[in-house]
């Protein structure tokens, strides 16, 4: 605690204005100041005595100062997220967002009044998971907080083994490509690269880093806690599309929601996106697909989903027909395995000489030689699109 904090404390308390925060209560009446903690009460203090008592209980005072001068405003998304980071219990928060990375029941939290226990933990570092981020908050001098952000896979890594970044905007480049240098158009895809850290961040900087890597997640998480998350379900979200996306409106024909179930399974599973899908078919028609376990909610079909839905609207307008293909049992299973490997993003992982793998390139090239004709028709069976 520094002099500025004590000065702020004495300035904040007048006959009219009390101060009460995280178990600290300071009031003033005609007899002087009253300084209260959960297990302490000092009354009729003059200003010098107040300063002395405050100095003897500096954790409470610096805690009040941090939350009132550094991290305000109380009730804002910023404030509540910073409280979440240092695991202050919030019994009003919905269960989805209360705990560790969306896990409601696990992970320690500290009662707001128990500042000493929280400070004790902050001395060692308090960690929270946010998507693939591990965010650690530690105490700096005079009760200021310092934050560190790294990939959750690097949570136990030696800091010297990670590239340390000082500039918040470096987070943009980190979030831009995956480990195979492929562009990441979906920021919440679970493909964030590791091997880096942002040390010594201020409270403003930690929010900037998190919001750069996962834009708008803090705001929507906060709205959910406040009970004001404005979910736009599939049907109204498609209904407002226009231009080249206007066609997606025709995919809904009032004949069930199977197509949307498939979209949610294909695009919104945790393997694809770390947001927890809260949108349904419409307000009255929930989807059966699992929404995922993410810490932060997804409040409407994203631009990637809309863009993919446009393509599906085109190809799903066709009726099914019967084709006859002749395949060996192994070939049938090989085709199924290839679909699986591509869908799971594993096709490029198959080793060149792993001929036991159905998606091995030579195995697939052999299959193509055997089963596809010069026009690329499977088993020589023409598509006959126009018939």
């Amino acid at each position: 605690m520094d002099d500025e904090q004590t000065a702020a404390l004495t300035a904040a308390v007048t006959i009219e204005d009390d101060l009460a925060f995280d178990g600290l209560r300071v009031t003033r009446d005609d007899d002087g100041y009253r300084f209260e903690l959960p297990d302490l009460e000092r009354v009729a203090l003059d200003e010098a005595e107040l300063r002395r008592v405050a100095g003897a209980n500096d954790e409470h005072v610096s805690n009040w100062y941090f939350w009132h001068d550094v991290a305000p405003t109380e009730g804002s998304a910023r404030f509540d997220f910073l409280r979440f980071l240092e695991r202050v219990a919030d019994h009003d928060a919905p269960t989805e967002t209360r705990g560790h990375g969306g896990d409601a029941t696990h992970g320690t939290t500290y009662e707001p009044d128990d500042v000493l226990a929280r400070y004790d933990a902050l001395e060692r570092g308090v960690e929270r998971q946010w998507g693939e981020l591990a965010v650690t908050v530690e105490l700096a001098d005079d009760g200021y907080r310092r934050y560190e952000v790294r990939h959750v896979d690097d949570a136990d890594a030696d800091p010297d083994d990670l590239d340390a970044h000082r500039e918040v905007r470096d987070a943009r480049d980190i979030a831009k490509f995956d480990a195979d240098d492929r562009y990441r158009p979906l920021k919440t895809a679970p493909t964030l690269v590791d091997g880096w850290r942002f040390p010594e961040l201020t409270s403003a900087e930690v929010i900037a880093v998190v919001e750069t890597i996962y834009p708008a997640t803090i705001a929507n998480w906060h709205r959910e806690r406040e009970g004001t998350l404005d979910v736009d379900h599939w049907e109204p979200a498609m209904a407002r599309q226009s231009g080249i996306y206007g066609v997606v409106q025709t995919w809904n024909r009032g004949e069930g929601t199977e197509h949307v179930e498939r979209v949610a399974e294909a695009c919104c599973a945790d393997s694809e996106c770390l947001k927890r899908r809260e949108w349904q078919y419409d307000e009255d028609t929930p989807l059966q697909a699992d929404g995922g376990a993410g810490a932060f909610p997804c409040r409407e079909p994203c631009s990637m989903v809309v863009s993919a839905a446009r393509q599906w609207t085109k190809v799903e307008g066709e009726d099914a027909r019967t084709y006859e293909f002749e395949l060996t049992p192994s070939e049938k299973e090989q085709i199924e395995a290839i679909i699986d490997r591509v869908a799971d993003g594993e096709a490029s992982d198959v080793r060149e000489a792993d001929f036991g793998d159905d998606a091995n390139r030579w195995r697939v090239r052999y299959l193509r030689e055997k089963r596809m004709d010069d026009d690329g028709n499977l088993c020589g069976v023409p598509t006959n699109r126009d018939e």
């Binding site: 804002s76 905007r169 490509f177 562009y183 920021k187 708008a216 705001a219 929507n220 994203c302």
Partner: protein, 291 residues
């Protein structure tokens, strides 16, 4: 508190589409003119839909990093930002004259000053000229030079061609270049025949596009005959039919674009006059260094 939101198209496929947006936002951040500066996209995140809620400021200036008035500025952006009572008539524009309109948004309690696109602001003419200076490395370029301002054309949006012609006219009136022409990709006068339209031996070609991409880095260079294959690159200047063609690439990558963004906010009432002066000077230094 006042915030600036630069809204741009972005891309699901091209990782560099948003690079100029971030660069201009960074330039403006460094001036400290706004408490918050945020980028938002149609195809990237934060999406138009969710950007306003990330701000703490009560006053928000939204500047579209688009070239012309049309589908995006009149329909998509206002709808996705949930601007209450938006009507394209509110801009009272003839196609290139939109300045700003002050509205509320449905999902936040903020005042939103929705500005016209950067591409139609008068200051854009200066950016085109600055782009010509950058590509030639000559801060006084003009004597003996022709300038072609290149746009898409009218097939998709007639205001797109209007914006190109508007700036070509303004730059012509500066009497700085020997000749100034508006050329198009998909209508006459076509950029393919660029050398037919100029008598000057040297021609600077500046595409009025926000970001470099397929059109500016593949189509236009090949159509003009700078190269047979964009992948092998081209000379600057490139000799074509007895002319030297100085191809500048998308005007939107020019550092001075940050000035146009600021001027849009200034016109809408933001307190950023000092920042405008700073950006004009600092980006000039950058252009000279680059050259």
């Amino acid at each position: 508190m006042q915030a600036l939101v630069i809204v741009a198209h972005g891309s699901h496929l091209n990782p560099e589409s948003s690079t100029p947006t971030y660069a201009h936002a960074d330039t403006i951040r460094e001036t400290g003119a706004f408490d918050e500066v945020r980028e938002a996209f149609w195809k990237e995140e934060p999406h138009f839909r969710e950007v306003l809620r990330t701000l703490e400021s009560d006053e928000v200036y939204v500047v579209p990093l688009f070239i012309s008035e049309g589908y995006f500025t009149e329909e998509v952006i206002p709808r996705e930002l949930r601007l209450t009572d938006w009507d394209p008539e509110a801009w009272e524009s003839d196609g290139t004259s939109a300045t700003h309109v002050t509205l509320a948004a449905e999902d936040v309690e903020k005042t939103v000053h929705y500005c016209g696109p950067v591409g139609t602001h008068d200051a854009m003419s200066d950016v085109i000229v600055r782009r010509a200076e950058s590509v030639t490395g000559d801060p006084d370029v003009g004597d003996g030079f022709g300038l072609a301002v290149v746009g898409h054309g009218t097939k998709r949006n007639e205001n797109s061609a209007k914006a190109v012609e508007y700036h070509a006219d303004r730059i012509r009136e500066m009497n700085r270049f020997e000749e100034v022409k508006a050329l198009f990709m998909d209508e006459d006068p076509e950029v393919d025949d660029v050398t037919d339209f100029f008598e000057s031996e040297d021609i600077v070609v500046v595409p009025l596009f926000v970001a470099d991409g397929y059109h500016t880095q593949e189509d236009i260079p090949e159509d003009m005959g700078l190269t047979d294959d964009y992948r092998t690159g081209w000379e600057t200047p490139a000799k074509v039919d007895g002319h030297y063609v100085w191809y500048a690439g998308a005007v939107g990558t020019e550092a001075l674009m940050a000035d146009v963004v600021l001027e849009r906010a200034l016109d809408a009432g933001a307190d950023v006059r000092e920042a405008v002066e700073y950006v004009r000077e600092s980006t000039r230094a950058a252009a000279t260094t680059e050259a």
